[in-house]
Symmetry: C2
Subunit: 333 residues, 2 copies
């Protein structure tokens, strides 16, 4: 049976929301979930939920890494944190995957330190499936790696392509580099150098992708530095939140729009579902020797449940085995 360690202490509303998500997952998925964190707290919360007792257990971890603590330092000092213990369990093969909605930097750091990377991979990258007009697009990296090299961008391209191929069943995914123009001459030295590496490869490389085309969904895999990817992701969230607040204000200003809004509710719900991260579950940390899923810090129970589902898919599709094969094919190691 698949075994998943779940960081009970990670996330803005942890441990409550995580425990609720675990209970939900235990009712839906045939897997063993090990909640990692402060045992007594978790037990108390778990007893308030309707969970499958055969499928949930607890591993005590006495320390907690806060959402805003400096990653590298805290991972080294808090050896009994839920993140450190969970990654350790993964390293010792007590579990098949680790899921956390906690401090992203700390998860990346602990994973890179303890699990090491796959052959040919210098730095892990966070890949996230974003909704677009033409279906999901994988963007990698969205924040694991700040000082990226052209070779690392290429490694992201290989893993991203393989991920989309196996998880979404796209036979020959297109891959592009996020840039500020389509022409070869555009962008930073990093991108110009990376472009040359991609062009020589066997990937289905389509050149530069402009941000203005991102949500129109012309490309399957978009590769970028972690800093830029993170800005793209977060500014989208910011804009979506601001627009929805603005819409609410405008719609409730007078009676007709209010009635209109009620009648349009199903349409709004359909869109929200499409762009709701909690439907998509967590984002995999690609490139570490182990399966690590990072969920959004503001995850609700449903997002946690879906992050557990994402980890099960990761395991079932044997993604790391495929990555190693494709990295080999592209002569990366």
């Amino acid at each position: 049976m698949i075994r998943v360690a779940l960081d009970a202490m990670g996330g803005d509303r942890a441990p409550r929301v995580v425990v609720e998500g675990a209970a939900w997952a235990s009712r839906e998925f045939d897997c063993q979930i090990i909640l990692v964190g402060k045992e007594r707290n978790i037990k108390k919360l778990l007893n308030k939920t309707d969970y499958n007792k055969q499928r949930i257990s607890i591993r005590n971890a006495t320390e907690v890494i806060g959402m805003d603590e400096p990653a590298a330092k805290t991972v080294r000092s808090k050896k009994q944190s839920s993140i450190s213990v969970g990654i350790e369990m993964l390293k010792e093969k007590e579990v098949d995957a680790f899921v956390s909605a906690g401090n992203t930097g700390a998860v990346v750091c602990a994973a890179a330190l303890k699990l090491r990377t796959l052959p040919g991979i210098e730095r892990p990258g966070i890949g996230i499936l974003m909704p677009t007009l033409k279906g999901p697009c994988l963007i990698i990296d969205v924040g694991a790696n700040i000082d990226t090299t052209p070779e690392q961008l290429f490694q992201y391209g290989i893993m991203g392509t393989s991920y989309v191929k196996h998880i979404l069943g796209v036979s020959k995914p297109t891959v592009g580099l996020l840039n500020i123009g389509q022409e070869e001459s555009k962008g930073t030295v990093l991108l110009k150098t990376a472009r040359k590496i991609f062009e020589k490869s066997n990937l289905n490389f389509v050149g530069n992708v402009e941000a203005k085309d991102f949500y129109l969904g012309k490309i399957d895999v978009v590769v970028c530095e972690g800093f830029v990817g993170n800005i793209l992701l977060k500014v989208t969230e910011s804009f979506a939140e601001a627009s929805s607040k603005l819409l609410k204000i405008e719609l409730t200003k007078s009676l007709l729009p209010k009635i209109g809004a009620i009648l349009s509710l199903s349409a709004f719900r359909a869109i929200r579902k499409k762009i709701d991260y909690s439907e998509h579950g967590g984002a995999p940390l690609l490139g570490v020797d182990g399966r690590v899923i990072i969920a959004h810090g503001s995850s609700n129970a449903k997002a946690i449940k879906n992050a557990v589902r994402a980890s099960i898919e990761y395991i079932k599709h044997k993604l790391n085995k495929h990555f190693i094969e494709e990295l080999r094919k592209e002569n990366v190691y």
Copy 2:
């Protein structure tokens, strides 16, 4: 009387839309507009509009720089292009400002080459007023400068602050660095170094600003590298376009949402007006010794008209004089 040179050949729908925008501006603003471009074409289009004959004239320019042509190369080879001629007119003080919706790279390049920069400014930056929940926020740079230094970011901070102070009347504008986290330790070496310069200055520096807070509008001036700023701007456009398409599809799927949409129309219009770039006019190229306003490539006539208005405001507020004073105060030169 204020004299504005307007690039008639620049923009996705030039020269028609530009000429219409010029005609509109001539009816509203007390200024002299000189349309720069292919005289015969412009004349023909102008005669179809209702314009103030006292306020519009034409300056012939026989060449056109295409929207996707490589900037530096084309500026050097096409000396009779509308962009080159317009910038030349500005240099020779035949006009007080130059407005273009054409090839942004070419405008920046021609301006930097011919007009030179203000004392203490190494590279010009494009500043753009973005709508947020709490009113406009100036983001600088959104794409003029790709290989940015910490010192250049600081120069943007000074000009951005001065711009917001004088154009929006904010007495002590807050300024922050766009980053992927609020903590000091976050981000690239560029940002960490820039942070130290900002901290020592007299600006109202608030530290790092996260992209997730951008549209909530907590800050008056957000400083970033041109690459990142351009991604932020363009991905917002992309998301807004995709969402509005999605909304249209969902709203027309069945009758009730359709009726709802019609009733909510006024609310949608109010929001569109708030986030519509054409309402805000062009973005100033800050830091060159001259007033250059860059309008969006997909500008409609209203956006052109408002870009002309932006150039008039730029002139009336004597911004470059203020920039020089504030750069002096901060010991930049």
